[in-house]
Amino acid sequence: MAELTLVEAVNLALARALEIDPDVVVFGEDIGINGGVFRATLGLQARYGKERVMDTPLSETLIAGMAIGMAAQGLKPVAEIQFMGFIYPTLDQILSHAARLRNRTRGRLHCPMVLRAPYGGGIHAPEHHSESTEALFAHIPGLRVVIPSSPLRAYGLLLAAIFDPDPVIFLEPKRIYRMVKEAVADDGQALPLDVCFRLRDGSDVTLVTWGAMTHETLQAADRLAQEGISAEVIDVATIKPIDSATILESVAKTGRCVIVHEAARACGVGAEIAAQLAEHGLMSLYAPVQRVTGYDTIMPLFRLEQHYLPTSARIVTAAKRTLEAA
C-alpha cells in the first residue's frame, strides 16, 4: 500500500474515478498538460486523454456553468478552481443553478458535479490565495460542502463526492497537501458523506474542527493530555449538511466544546455549530462554548498570517477556559 500525501491521494481518487466510470470528466485551468497548479491532476491527461481531462480558459464562471451542463447530460464533471479566492465568479452558477436544479425540476434533473478548490492559509500567499470562505457555500441549500483533513479522507471523500448525485464543493486544505503521508489503498472505497470523524476519544472537552486545523487541534489535544485533560477531537469533514448528532453526542459526554476554524469568526460554520449546541445541547454544557477562529478581517499577507491562523496554544487556552468555568 502506497504512502501518499493528501494531494497525491486526491490525484489517486481522480484517476480511480476516471478509470472506473467513462462519464467522469476532469477540467480546469492548467490541469491537463501542466497537471494543475498544485499537481493534483498530474499525469491524468496523458492517461485518460484530452477529451476527458481538459484544459480550460481562465473563465471560472464558464467552468462552473459547463459542469452543470455536462451534469445535465449525464456526465460526472469534476472541475478545479485554482484557488478558493478565484471561486467567486462561480457563485452565480453554483448558487443560482447547480444548487437549485433538483428543486426547480422536482427531481427530474439533478447536478452530480464536484467543484474542487485548494483553500486556506499558511503557504505565504496573498489574500485570495489564502482565505477560507467555506461558510459562503455552507449557507446555500442544495449544496454539499466537504473538506478532507488527511490523505485517507481525501481519497475516500473525493470518490464519494464524485459519485454523489448532488453538487459538492470539495475544499482541499492546501497547507497540508504535502504535510503528512499515510498509507492509502486504491480500493475504490468511498468514505461516508454527511458524517463527522472522531479522531481522538476523550472525556473532558470536545474539540470540533475541519481541514488543516485538525493538525493544530490534535496537537492541542496532546498538550492537554500532558496536563491530564482528556480532549475528544472531531473532524466535521462534511460541513454542509452537518452531522450535528455526533457533535451533540460527544458534548453530552464531555459537557464542554471548543470549535476551531481558520475562517473569519462572524457567521462562520462555528457559529452554526454553537447555535446547534445552544438549541439541542444546552443542558449538557458545563461551560460556554468557545470559538477559536481567524479574525473578522481580510486574510493578511505572509508576515502576519501566523498571527491570523489559530494555533494549538490558543486552542489549549480556550479548552482550559471551559474547564475553569465548571
Partner: protein, 330 residues
C-alpha cells in the same frame, strides 16, 4: 416549406399567441404568480428555428420568456399552464414557475431567470453530446441584452475553441427590459460581435417565419455536421412590456405601430390566404378551435389541479436515500 407545413406552423404560432394572452388574463386575475414575461410578437423565432431542428431530440435552453419554446419542444401545454398557476400538476410541480419551465423528457433543459446565466450550460451540454457521440445539438436561445453579460463571451470562446455543437439563437427584440439596444450596447448588430470568435453568424428578419426557417436550416445543418457553433440573430419585437409589471412607457407608439404591421402570424396568414391555401373563415375557425382548446382543456386543467404539497417543502434539496452518505465502493 410546403403549404401543409405553413398551415401547421400558423396554427402552432396562433396557439402560442392565444396561450400567452390567456396567461396575461390569468395573471391579472391573480391566478398566476411568480412574475410573467410574455412572448407575443416573437413567435416566428421559436417556431421557425425549432421546426428546422429536431424538437424533442435536440437539447434546448432559453431565458425567462420560455413557455412557448418548451411547448414547441413537446412539453404538455396543460402542465406548463399548471406550472404558471403553481399547481402540483405543473411541469415542475409548481416549484419552478413561469421562468423555470423544464421538460427533460423532451430535452427542454430549462428556462432560466437570470440573464446570461445559462449560456455556459449550453456549452457543457454540447460537450456532453460530443463526448457521448450523439447526433443531437445544443440550442441556446438568448436575448440581445444578455449579450452584455460576461458569460456570453466566455461561452462563445469555449464553443469555438472546442468546435462544439451549439446553435446560438439571439432573439433581438431591441430592448433589455426598458433600455433600447442603442443605449446599452456599443455594437447593435449582435451577429457582428460574434465574428471575433470565428463563429459563422447571420442576421435575418425574425418576423417572417419562412425566412427564419430557411436560415435556421442552414445553421442547424452546419452545427449538426460537426463544423462547430453557429450564431443566428433574429430581428424581432415583443408587443408587451418586459414583464407584467412593466408599463411599457418607454417605446414610441410609432415604433409599436410599425412592428404591429409586421406581425408573424398575420403575415403568414395573409400569405396563405393570398395563395388560396386557406380562407378568412378557415382562419377564424382555427382561432376558435385554439381558444376552445385553451379554455376548456388547458385552463380547466390548471384551475382544477391540486395545490402543491406543503409537506414536500423541504424535499428535492438533496437526493433522498443517497447511498453515498453511508460510504460505498466503486
Amino acid at each position: 416549406m410546403n403549404a401543409a407545413d405553413k398551415k401547421r406552423l400558423l396554427r402552432e404560432m396562433l396557439f402560442a399567441r392565444r396561450f400567452e394572452e390567456r396567461c396575461y388574463e390569468a395573471y391579472v386575475e391573480r391566478k398566476i404568480g411568480g412574475f410573467l414575461h410574455l412572448y407575443p410578437g416573437q413567435e416566428a423565432c421559436a417556431f421557425g428555428v425549432l421546426d428546422a431542428a429536431r424538437p424533442g431530440h435536440d437539447y434546448v435552453i432559453t431565458g425567462y420568456r420560455d413557455h412557448v419554446h418548451a411547448i414547441k419542444c413537446g412539453a404538455d401545454p396543460k402542465e406548463v399552464m399548471a406550472e404558471l398557476f403553481g399547481k402540483e400538476t405543473g411541469s415542475s410541480k409548481g416549484r419552478g414557475g413561469s421562468m423555470h419551465i423544464f421538460d427533460t423528457k423532451h430535452h427542454f433543459m430549462g428556462g432560466y431567470a437570470l440573464v446570461g446565466g445559462p449560456f455556459p450550460l449550453a456549452v457543457g451540454m454540447a460537450k456532453g453530446i460530443k463526448l457521448k457521440g450523439g447526433d443531437e445539438i445544443s440550442i441556446c436561445f438568448l436575448g440581445d441584452a444578455a449579450n452584455n453579460q460576461g458569460t456570453f463571451h466566455e461561452t462563445l470562446n469555449m464553443a469555438a475553441l472546442w468546435e462544439l455543437p451549439v446553435l446560438f439563437v439571439c432573439e433581438n427584440n431591441l430592448y433589455g427590459i426598458g433600455t433600447r439596444i442603442d443605449r446599452s450596447t456599443a455594437v447593435v448588430d449582435q451577429y457582428k460581435r460574434v465574428c471575433g470568435y470565428n463563429i459563422p453568424a447571420a442576421q435575418v428578419d425574425g418576423q417572417d417565419i419562412e425566412k427564419v426557417h430557411a436560415a435556421a436550416k442552414i445553421a442547424v445543418e452546419h452545427v449538426r455536421s460537426g463544423k462547430g457553433p453557429y450564431f443566428l440573430e433574429l430581428m424581432t419585437y415583443r408587443y408587451r412590456g418586459h414583464s407584467m409589471s412593466d408599463s411599457n412607457a418607454y417605446r414610441a407608439k410609432e415604433e409599436e405601430r410599425m412592428w404591429s404591421k409586421r406581425d408573424p402570424i398575420i403575415m403568414l396568414r395573409d400569405r396563405l390566404i393570398k395563395a388560396g391555401e386557406m380562407s378568412a373563415d378557415d382562419y377564424k375557425k382555427m382561432d376558435d378551435d385554439v381558444l376552445d382548446h385553451i379554455e376548456n382543456e388547458i385552463i380547466k386543467f390548471a384551475e382544477e389541479s391540486p395545490e402543491p404539497k406543503v409537506e414536500e417543502l423541504e424535499r428535492y434539496v438533496l437526493a433522498d436515500n443517497d447511498p453515498w452518505v453511508k460510504g460505498g465502493a466503486h
